[in-house]
């Protein structure tokens, strides 16, 4: 699914060159649930942006679903983001003037899907995250956990190849955070590939594999032996 070979990212900061990623190699197979960890400045956010096709590598190769992303143009990248990637952000990033339903419809608007199908699919996605009774609420009428669930519904709605979550529980209380992780685990169970950036070991414990970055390099990559289940904590 994700195949990254010798990937390097260098930022030009005035005269100084800063290497955010140094010859990183990473492979993520379908149906994996991976967390990327590391202190700030370790390169995990850069990795996330590159996997999410928001940024391009300086050197090396990144293939997503056998498509070499490194050689694509802006518009093609937008297309990939639209169809193959579902973003979930720490600060939810919902559009404040749109209702939950309209927010979820947005990726399908850019995919050129008709209004009727859009509404049906958005309703399905919201149902999946348990928000069928909140579809006409605007973000400021929802709790943090609910907003993140709208964001997950939005990320899911175009049936992407991977879900990319950047500190998805960072702005939530622990109970809402656990709920979100429960949804991720359910989605993963159903076959979704999830890559999640976090710096909280407790959150990473819900995933199946932990990749740790430091100074732009992967320093460890191991499977989680006893993945924590959210089930037993939730009533």
């Amino acid at each position: 699914m994700i195949a990254i070979k010798n990937l390097t990212k260098v930022y030009q900061n005035g005269q100084i060159e800063v290497a955010a990623l140094r010859t990183v190699n990473l492979t993520v197979a379908a149906k994996e649930f991976v967390s990327i960890m590391g202190p700030s400045g370790s390169g995990k956010s850069t990795m996330m942006n590159i996997i999410g096709c928001l940024d391009k590598s300086t050197e090396g190769e990144y293939c997503l679903d056998q498509v070499n992303i490194s050689s694509l143009k802006d518009d093609d990248l937008a297309d990939i983001r639209n169809k193959k990637i579902g973003f979930i952000f720490q600060s939810f990033n919902l559009l404040p003037k749109l209702t939950a339903l309209e927010n979820v419809e947005l990726p399908m608007v850019y995919a050129g899907i008709g209004a009727k199908e859009r509404k049906d699919r958005a309703l399905d996605a919201l149902k999946k995250v348990g928000l069928e009774d909140r579809v006409f609420h605007k973000p400021n009428e929802l709790s943090g956990g609910q907003m993140q669930r709208v964001a997950i519904a939005r990320a899911l709605v175009n049936q992407p190849s991977i879900l990319l979550a950047d500190e998805p529980t960072g702005n939530l209380d622990s109970r809402s955070g656990e709920e979100i992780m429960g949804i991720f685990q359910d989605l993963n169970q159903e076959g979704a590939t999830i890559v999640m950036v976090t710096h909280e070991p407790e959150i990473a414990a819900y995933t199946k594999r932990i990749v740790t970055f430091r100074d732009g390099e992967i320093i460890s990559d191991e499977l989680v032996k006893n993945t924590l289940s959210t089930r037993r904590n939730l009533v």
Partner: protein, 403 residues
């Protein structure tokens, strides 16, 4: 993203910021409404003038000196030339016209005067002009023959002198070259400028019609500025002009000194002048449109900055640069097109208002309307492109990080 969705989302953001959108539109509204108002009044006056000329008929000629500044005293048209003109078989009536300036009319307070123009004509003037009588009558041939000291004044002047307008038989005092002459009022006409004149009573020139001989006596001259001639057959208008010119040249023993203008020609000239005038004022109003357009650009730039994060979110969800560009471009166009439509309505109403004040039916032509709509959407495009491009080019990562 298809166009319908873009338009919907643009409408949503324009209306979510009503006050700002309205203020931004205001520049466009003022610009468009001024252009519409001015052109509708301009075209209305042209139509009114054309109607006036039509009423008088198209078989009219005016004979005058081609260039009075170059004419010698031999070339001057004089009252005696009238006989030649009158004897032409095509001519049905003719009136001389002498305009005497620097005349002062004594007002109710004997120390106050108003400057006026004295127009010396004969009884035929009535046939070739559209005077609107309220009281009394125009000159008759005995008035002209006897050089009677009688005058036709307009109702505005009558009110200023006497305080009312039915002043037939009253004496007025006309001062020319320091000498005061009494004249008897025999007719009162409606001021041709109508109510418009009453708005500026001191600025409008007053015209008094008097027998040509009487005016000549006041000024001690026998010159004529022009002859107005009505002819029988309007198809012979060109031949008659030529023949009349020839006859006058023969009598004055000169060449190429006289100018014969037909009514349609003078209508063309007046229309041309009016057209230039309208175009010039419209141009000035157009500048306010430019200012309005800059206002739109300014607000769109602010909007782009404010919505940087939204742009980042949209891009992360798969919006292409062109989707973002179109969205902001359409927002700018919505502002200018709605502004244009409101401006058009207000301009039309303003035109009606001023038109009723001036007694002119304003005319809004299809061309002007379609031009304004095109113009306002063009302004939206021209002044929206730069902000829209700026939005489209934002880096999604930077935009998502923007607080």
């Amino acid at each position: 993203m298809n166009l319908v969705e873009s338009v919907k989302s643009a409408f949503r953001s324009v209306f979510s910021n009503k006050m700002r959108s309205f203020l931004t539109m205001l520049g466009i509204i003022i610009g468009i409404s001024s252009v519409i108002m001015i052109t509708s009044i301009g075209q209305g006056s042209q139509a009114a003038l054309t109607g006036e000329f039509d009423k008088l008929g198209v078989n009219m000629l005016t004979i005058s000196l081609k260039d009075p500044s170059k004419a010698t005293s031999r070339d001057q048209l004089i009252i005696e030339d009238m006989e030649i003109i009158k004897n032409h078989p095509q001519v049905t009536s003719v009136t001389p016209l002498y305009q005497g300036g620097n005349a002062q009319i004594q007002l109710r307070n004997p120390k106050e005067y108003r400057s006026s123009i004295l127009i010396g004509v004969n009884e035929s003037y009535k046939d070739i002009s559209a005077l609107n009588f309220i009281y009394g009558r125009f000159l008759i041939d005995t008035d002209v023959k006897m050089k009677s000291k009688v005058a036709i004044i307009d109702d505005g002047l009558a009110k200023v002198i006497f305080g009312y307008d039915d002043v037939i038989g009253q004496q007025i005092y006309v001062q020319v070259k320091q000498v005061k002459h009494p004249f008897t009022v025999i007719g009162v006409i409606k001021n041709p400028m109508g109510d418009f004149a009453s708005l500026f009573p001191d600025q409008m020139p007053t015209m008094l019609y008097m027998p040509i001989g009487a005016v000549h006596d006041l000024y001690g001259t026998n010159r004529i500025q022009n002859f107005a001639v009505a002819i029988q057959d309007k198809d012979k208008i060109n031949d008659t002009s030529l023949e009349l010119t020839k006859m006058l040249e023969k009598k004055h023993r000169n060449e190429n000194q006289y100018y014969v203008q037909s009514a349609t020609e003078s209508l063309d000239v007046v229309n041309k002048v009016l057209g230039y005038f309208t175009a010039f004022i419209s141009f000035v109003a157009g500048i306010s449109l430019l200012v309005g357009g800059i206002g739109v650009m300014n607000i769109m730039l602010v909007t782009v900055t404010e919505r940087t994060r939204e742009i980042g979110i949209r891009k992360s969800l798969g919006a292409k640069n062109k989707d973002i560009r179109i969205q902001f471009l359409i927002e700018a166009m919505i502002l200018t097109i709605i502004g244009g439509l409101i401006g058009m309505a207000l301009g039309y109403l303003g035109g009606l208002g001023i038109g009723s004040l001036m007694k002119i039916a304003p005319k809004v032509s299809f061309i002007v309307v379609s031009l304004t709509v095109t113009l306002s959407s063009m302004i939206g495009i021209i002044f929206g492109v730069y902000p829209a491009n700026k939005a489209a080019k934002l880096d999604p990562i930077e935009a998502l990080r923007y607080e």
